[in-house]
Symmetry: C2
Subunit: 607 residues, 2 copies
Amino acid sequence: MTNSVPSSDIKPEQEFDSDAVRNANPLRFAEEIRISAPFKLENGGILPEIRIVYETYGKLNTAKNNVILVCHALSGDSHAAAHSPDDDPGWWDILIGPGKPLDTNKYFVICSNCLGGCRGTTGPDSINPETGHRYGMDFPEITIGDIVEVQRLLLDNLGIDKLLCVIGGSLGGANALEWTIRYPARVVSAIPLASGAHLTSQALAFDIVARNAIHSDPNFHEGKYHEKGTVPADGLAIARMLGHITYLSRDGMMKKFGSARNHGRDIKTKFETKFSVGSYLAHQGDKFVERFDANSYLVLSTALDNFNLGETPEELQEALRNTTCRWLILSFSTDWLFPPFLSREITDALLAVGKRVNYCNIQSECGHDAFLLSNDFAYYGEMIRSFIDNTAYEQAAGTPPPFVRPDRLDYDLILDLFPKNASVLDLGCGRGGLLARLRQQNNDNIIGIEVKEKYVLSCIQRGIDVVQADLNEGLNMFADGQFDFVVLSKTLQTVLDVEFVLDEMLRVGKRCIVSFPNLGYKDYRKRLCEEGLAPNPDAGDSVHEWYKTQNVRFLTLTDFEEFCRMKNIQIYNRIALDTKKHQPVNENPNENADMIITVISERVKET
Amino acid sequence: MTNSVPSSDIKPEQEFDSDAVRNANPLRFAEEIRISAPFKLENGGILPEIRIVYETYGKLNTAKNNVILVCHALSGDSHAAAHSPDDDPGWWDILIGPGKPLDTNKYFVICSNCLGGCRGTTGPDSINPETGHRYGMDFPEITIGDIVEVQRLLLDNLGIDKLLCVIGGSLGGANALEWTIRYPARVVSAIPLASGAHLTSQALAFDIVARNAIHSDPNFHEGKYHEKGTVPADGLAIARMLGHITYLSRDGMMKKFGSARNHGRDIKTKFETKFSVGSYLAHQGDKFVERFDANSYLVLSTALDNFNLGETPEELQEALRNTTCRWLILSFSTDWLFPPFLSREITDALLAVGKRVNYCNIQSECGHDAFLLSNDFAYYGEMIRSFIDNTAYEQAAGTPPPFVRPDRLDYDLILDLFPKNASVLDLGCGRGGLLARLRQQNNDNIIGIEVKEKYVLSCIQRGIDVVQADLNEGLNMFADGQFDFVVLSKTLQTVLDVEFVLDEMLRVGKRCIVSFPNLGYKDYRKRLCEEGLAPNPDAGDSVHEWYKTQNVRFLTLTDFEEFCRMKNIQIYNRIALDTKKHQPVNENPNENADMIITVISERVKET
């Protein structure tokens, strides 16, 4: 092996950082239940008994309303977190523990090894009590639904009815989704991360090639490798290598392996190690064979491949229509195994059927692995924490969490325009100041759209439902006339395609409220005509310079009124403000007002 | 096999469209030369003889200056195109033939099977004359450089000294790159498509897993499978399946396989076929085994993996510094095997060392396969055609191709500002109107940057060197003071980050010419102050409405002068124009001129 670095020179923790988490193995604190009744599977198979291995963290409260169910990914297990300082690390230690987002001082966290797995719960590796042999390839085909049913059995046995939250990433996200559909009344909130309602064709293709590699391994023996005393190590290792490629982002791989490209580690393996990325893959493949069962891999990856809540928006809406939980859906920008659009699909379907949903696409370099890593935790960890805490608060108090209300004249004026409990969509909602005011009136028929990640976090912290999206891409997810009011507050002038954005808001709102700075204001006129300088309208961002203002569209009240005439838009109400004097303007508003608030709708609706 | 559609119901051409091209096999028109002298390889190995199989199209002219060398990808061969209407299709039929971009009425096109291949040219499948057996795994390690040396042998034998163009995609692009470096004096122009100066870590990882699959196949027998009478069919098929995933884009796969997700074709194969994408991969894998040799796959993929012209900008610049050809570099937006940034890396390195380079990232849904398909041919085919035709014209005439000159006062005024043969960078060059005027003066020290694909095509058609890039991302590829002049003509007002773009142009240009519409013009003042409407400065795009103009920044001459004072920018020259009257303005330009042209530089340079 030329160009190799001796393995003693590199600590495994340094090069193979996600490995420590993925290969964690101890089950010292695991508990177990056995259910000896036959268990009927969704696709017709029957298992004569079910064994469930699980771990718990924190204490169940007397109201039994502090339960969080954690669902693991394909190769995970019940050991989600360490139980004590001297315990071995769990795969989601960053998230679970005292003071952490799933705060075990407050919540009772349960994680069970899933059906079909190979870490205690019944799976192909288990002994079939009817034959005395391992199931192997005779293990019946299972679905994500079957995995949920086994978890339900566990909860029933523990005397737990409601889940404050069901949370999981990847396959665990599919697992969480299935819970919300099968048992809507038992799920208060759900957090699927790095997940989807189905795989992409590309991800499906990788799974198929992985299974072909296992099936082709001559040591596989049609799944009866235990009886033959062999292990399909080559096939399983190759499957795992493929998996690891899909867990990392392209740029992340480049950073990890680019600089030492040709310097593979001199590890003991039969696989190619001459490139650094090659020795990494060989290591991951070999380690996986030591801890995972090939038949389990086949069973679980097939269950995930068959998971499909719908390919069209209509199918997805239908699948999710009866869910009743509050949602936090998270994707990661460089995840190409479960690309962000899959999470948006779910979000959009939920919005279309009027559910309370939050969504954010976390900016990350870490690819699919991001949900297991601390790199982007400042955002997604805090979102999970706030979302669960606020959901628990609402559940207990029956009211939204308290909110400190800063002074905003324009918000107060807009608030007066809404009838009680009107459904409201706020486009470009920022930190949710307007929606928080509505929420204090106990209106939960409201939602914000915001593009900036940090503002999305602020909204979630305030308990405001918010979806991260770019207005310029339209409002496809909403039906015609879905909202009583759509608000575009001080945002029109920052939008490039004004016609498209206004068309979209007029489509989904029965009434729309649009506010914007008025270029016709006397100070701006004076600036151009007397001083020869470009006007610098203020939109609350306190950056006025022509070369860096966030404003990209400049209009007067007269421009807007002409635009409405031309586009057949009805103006119902118009409030003109002099914000410097903090007062409404009645006379000659195009010259005397620096800010305009209008209420508009499509004229055709009124005829 | 449940849910399967009988294969008789679907014609292979329908579902497996790119397959017909990839699996084309006939060599009826192939010619061959044998060179019996020992051939020394770059890494020390020696081949006792070299056999080269090649095909030619069109006629060599007497000046022998119409030769185009076509380089194939990993699994290609010499049969790049059909030789007659009744001939079998070639893998690049869309590009090569009478009247096509590589027009065989004008050019003499050569394509040879590359060293290490398995379609006639010496490779691991060939008989080693010294042993009488096939080389197999004893075939020495080869490099992309060795592949070029064998092609050079062929050209020498054909009496051909110069290549008008060397062109190739994927591994063929690496092959073309290597030609420009090894034999700069023999290459007039080069077109690497869907290629790179090295693989990404991700692409490298896929190759490694593919090789691991072949090596792990028990029928591989350390490469001596011929002697054992076996074929490592499973391993080679799995390698090919992986390859095919990387050839398609994610969205392309979704379109191709999404709707019939669960309906695999009922084909005869040992691989999984229950999903439609699975039966596609099984088919591709099986077909590949019939026509390709596993050792060849190992040898060629290893050669490509070892190809690395440099990872840093400096290394790449060093590698390309001595090239002398004119370049057209093409990437495809959804190619994730050779992502566009790899082509930009090469482009940027060439720009940094002052080469004549064109680049475009073709918008495509077809992934890496795009360069073999007709879907995006309207752009990339025309770019190739124009580039080669114009290069041939320049080579023959010694002057640029003729250019019809439309009337543009501002261009004429700007032209007067350049000394003869000044090096000029035109930012946002559009269809190249200004640069074409300079080019007519036989100045070839000029280049344009343009973001729109259709304008890039126009520039290439005019013989203007142009690089597709977004000004907002900066000018990293250029050194400080690299150009005598940098031009930003009527573009400043469309740029969001004005400070950054101006900083960048002042950094790379000794002098900069900036023109922009003046908001202080009397008509605009009148419009705001007398009519109460937003000013509507004209920047030549003839869209003036406030809600859809491409202008996003609004400034007066005074604003610009103040900006320059604040940023310590020296204004050397200022031309104020009334474009409606078609005349310069001397008096009170901030009120009387609607268009300003300035010549500026960083002040610090002058002290």
